[in-house]
Symmetry: C2
Subunit: 108 residues, 2 copies
DNA sequence: CGTATTGCTACGATAATTGTAGCAACGGAG
DNA sequence: CTCCGTTGCTACAATTATCGTAGCAATACG
């Protein structure tokens, strides 16, 4: 294979040049992020119910993810209590909903 | 709401539910998993080039993810060297490719 | 008042990730 | 052959992230 030093000119594919996709992959790549969005896909859940749905994950990291997802605009805390997806969050959830069927065929 | 059965033998990593979607979300929820798949979407890359593309991530965890993704059947090591997506991996990559357009509109 | 929710936090213990350095194997040039 | 550069891959200590348990203030209802 040829030398790769010259590839700097095109800006190596995927360097974190602030490209939104990288920030998104990083956020979704944190533990419980995908799972939280997945569990909220149908209806809002209270923090405790969400915790139960997420296999009794530690509330520490769950709160951290919820805060991050809220700051990202994907999740919101309803005035009556309970976490739910925003319109943007629902949209995001739809984009990886096909994963379910893929996983079923995957089976591992 | 009633009490729920609190402890079974708990795996270290979450999602022992047996549901494929949970195992998949858990695997993709590990650091650099999504990124690796993303960087390999076009063409196979050698380990070092992949590392550069992944923002100089530590080779330790990169190797770990590559091993996991290979065991999952998403990534393979070509006989000429270089990591590439399997047919299954390409299929998986396609399912969350819409994330790119979503991220562009998201901007944060 | 007591009791039960809600969202949220503290904190020690444990697991995951980082950063740096380096290995054996293979191949091309000299 | 040796020398050099590449490949995939690993060791190791240091740093983060996550876990697990306990508990907080605020709210609501009887």
């Amino acid at each position: 294979m040829a030398k790769q030093a010259a590839s700097k000119t095109r800006g190596v594919r995927g360097s974190r040049t602030g490209r939104p996709i990288m920030a998104l992959l990083d956020l979704l790549g944190r533990r419980w992020s995908l799972r939280i969005l997945w569990e909220l896909r149908d209806e809002p859940l209270t923090s405790r119910v969400l915790r139960t749905a997420c296999d009794e994950a530690s509330p520490t990291v769950l709160q951290a993810r919820l805060t991050e997802l809220r700051e990202a605009g994907f999740v919101e805390l309803g005035d009556g209590g309970g976490y739910g997806l925003t319109a943007l969050g629902r949209e995001l959830c739809e984009t990886f909903m096909p994963l379910y069927r893929f996983a079923e065929r995957w089976k591992r």
